[in-house]
């Protein structure tokens, strides 16, 4: 494990909203190619952790390093450019845009021609648009959404909207992809498909994955390492087996039944 390079490293990352410490001194490392789970009860601070990593909030103290560079407090767009992309717990697609256009917005981050070409509609801009569309189409193929490329994204069923968010994030060509409750609202079949897709993202595309999920079967079946948060504090870290039998985790989150 330790020969692999560290991709993301949180060191005592902390954020305080008024009197509430939403994330308190959280420390963990992600290695390249990790499939990493972040779990904990409602309000534990999981989404806030994502917001710290992606620059939505600036940490009150502590450091967040991505590929060795400090990212805490940088602008979200800058962090996306460096190679971290995410999905949102409460789906945030571009509703009026088509499925394909949503993905092209993601792909646009890696475009090359200048925007001035677009105002005059010259061949470089046109060709680039075509190639971005083609890349986006390939990703839709991977996410099994190609047949709906032309529909308005708001018209997709819930499960497909979640898959589209992943496709859009993948289009930015990130090193690290953060998935916030990707299986929420999916039926068992969709969840199973999603597990396979997430594995493929890691194995085939070589991405490092950090995901939040409440469905324990989903997390335990997919992730190789897990961090557990409770009230902003990190209460455990380790393999699924270790987490499942950790008394602190059972008390705070899993309950006796698991």
């Amino acid at each position: 494990m330790s020969e692999k390079p560290v991709v993301l490293s949180l060191d005592k990352a902390t954020i305080q909203f008024g009197g509430l410490i939403a994330v308190n001194s959280v420390t963990f490392d992600l290695y390249k190619g990790d499939l990493f789970g972040l779990i904990g009860p409602n309000g534990a601070g999981k989404t806030t952790c994502f917001n710290l990593i992606t620059g939505v909030y600036k940490p009150t103290s502590g450091s967040i390093k991505f590929n060795g560079k400090e990212v805490g407090g940088l602008a979200p767009a800058k962090i996306a450019e460096m190679g971290i992309c995410r999905t949102f717990q409460n789906i945030r697609l571009f509703p009026a845009l088509s499925v394909l256009e949503n993905v092209v917005v993601g792909a646009y981050l890696r475009h090359k021609t200048s925007v001035y070409g677009a105002y005059t509609y010259l061949p470089p801009a046109i060709n680039e648009t075509e190639s971005l569309k083609k890349d986006a189409m390939d990703l839709l193929e991977v996410m099994d959404l190609a047949d709906m490329a032309g529909s308005r994204s708001a018209d997709l069923p819930y499960g497909k909207q979640r898959r589209l968010e992943i496709a859009r994030a993948m289009a930015t060509k990130p090193d690290l992809i953060l998935l916030d409750e990707p299986a929420a609202g999916m039926n068992p079949q969709e969840k199973e498909d999603l597990q396979a897709t997430v594995r493929r993202i890691r194995d085939e595309f070589g991405k490092t994955v950090l995901l939040i999920e409440h469905d324990m079967r989903f997390v335990m079946g997919l992730c190789e390492r897990i961090v557990v948060l409770d009230h902003g504090e990190e209460i455990a870290q380790g393999s699924p087996e270790a987490i499942r039998s950790d008394p602190k985790v059972i008390e705070a989150y899993l309950g006796e039944a698991v």
Binding site: A77, F94, L97, G106, A118
Partner: protein
């Protein structure tokens, strides 16, 4: 090279249209010269506001301010230097247009900055406030003519402007449309749809917003410069809030985000009041009078018809043909109500005595049309659709591939 062929033809067609309009209007219909100039300017204003409002989603409603910046800066500079220049009136007009666009672009940058922090209504108030403050400041600057306004050189002999005005309108349309046809326009749309998601996807949200403000206001400023030099007189009253609202209405009515919609609505909103102004009997040339009973009956009939149409729109699903039949029925019911009521109300002596001049009712008709449209089609005439040749050939039952063959 097919690409350049198509481009060449469309640019030539555009210029041909502009010069054709120029020749036609100045030869045959000199009295509508001013109207055609203003129509071109309002198309530019509506489409450029649509870039800010409809495409980038920044609720800016003080567009007349940029129009004013362009007009006053071009007017002032033209007065200072017109005598010394040796470019000729038309080239001078083009130079002033570019200058007006530049100055308005700068002010667009300044007004765009609050859009980085403010959203929705708050931004709307800032943009409107900017326009009003600017107007009042100009009212108090003596070298700009203060509240009396300013004559702009060349006085009294406006340069032939139609082709320049309409070329500007076409360039403005082309820029917005080109942007939407390539991937480069998507960040603008993404910012409109969801700022948080946009920035997470790496879209530079502040830059995108400010860019749209700068481009949009630069086009408005270019239109303002042309207006100043064409009309040769500008005053703060020309750029009051209601001009901003008319431009905004054009954008909303056409369908926010649809360039085609903005163009159509700009022409319609501009032409309807002008046309109503001239309503008169074609034979006797006397202004048309509407008797009181008919007026009241018509108003009530319109309300009945609109209510029925709205009901059908909301409550009936399915078969299109059947729905169309119901709409026709609703309109028929309106007409019937009109005839019936008109006949009945003739019996009311106080009402039968009254009559109104049609032209005087033009603002009433105008606002009623707006209200009805917003009730029945709140997404605007064209919603987010655009005109395209593929759509035209579909309309005539031919597929584009066949049309090309």
């Amino acid at each position: 090279m097919k690409f350049w062929g198509v481009r060449g033809v469309s640019i030539l067609a555009g210029l041909g249209f502009a010069f054709g309009l120029e020749t036609m209007v100045s030869a045959g219909l000199p009295n509508i010269y001013r109207l055609v100039v203003l129509a071109g300017l309002f198309i530019t204003l509506a489409v450029s506001l649509n870039l800010i409002n409809g495409i980038t989603g920044q609720f800016s409603i003080g567009h007349a301010a940029f129009y004013m910046v362009g007009a006053y800066s071009a007017g002032f500079v033209s007065n200072q230097f017109y005598a010394q220049q040796s470019l000729g009136p038309q080239l001078w007009l083009v130079v002033m247009m570019v200058f007006g666009a530049f100055m308005a672009g700068i002010s667009g940058f300044v007004v765009g900055l609050p859009s980085l922090r403010l959203r929705g209504d708050y931004l709307a108030i800032v943009t409107l406030g900017f326009g009003e403050i600017l107007r009042i400041v100009v009212q108090n600057i003596a070298p700009l003519g203060g509240a009396y306004g300013m004559n702009v050189k060349p006085f009294g002999s406006p340069p032939k402007a139609i082709w320049i005005v309409w070329t500007l309108a076409m360039v403005c349309i082309a820029v917005c449309r080109n942007l939407l046809r390539t991937a480069h326009g998507l960040p603008f749309l993404a910012v409109r749809e969801d700022e948080v998601a946009s920035s997470a996807m790496g879209v530079n949200v502040p830059k995108t917003k400010v860019t749209s403000f700068v481009i949009g206001s630069a086009f408005a400023g270019a239109a303002g410069a042309l207006f100043a030099l064409y009309d040769t007189f500008i005053s703060p009253d020309t750029f009051k809030m209601d001009v901003s609202f008319i431009i905004l209405t054009m954008v909303v009515l056409g369908g926010t985000g649809s360039i085609t919609g903005s163009v159509l609505a700009a022409v319609a909103l501009f032409a309807i009041p002008e046309w109503l102004r001239t309503l008169q009997d074609p034979v006797t040339k006397v202004a048309i009078q509407i008797p009181g009973p008919s007026l009241v009956a018509t108003m009530l009939a319109v309300i009945v018809a609109v209510a029925l149409v709205k009901l059908i729109q909301d409550r009936f699903y399915g078969d299109k043909g059947k729905k169309l039949g119901l709409y026709v029925g609703a309109v028929g019911a309106g007409v019937a109500v009109q005839f019936l009521l008109a006949a009945l109300l003739k019996g009311v002596p106080q009402l039968a005595k009254l009559s109104f001049e049609a032209a005087a009712l033009r603002m009433v008709i105008f606002s009623a049309t707006l209200i009805i449209l917003m009730l029945l089609r709140p997404q605007g005439i064209l919603a987010h659709h655009e005109f395209s040749w593929a759509w035209v050939s579909k309309l005539f039952g031919r597929r584009p591939s066949e049309a090309n063959a």
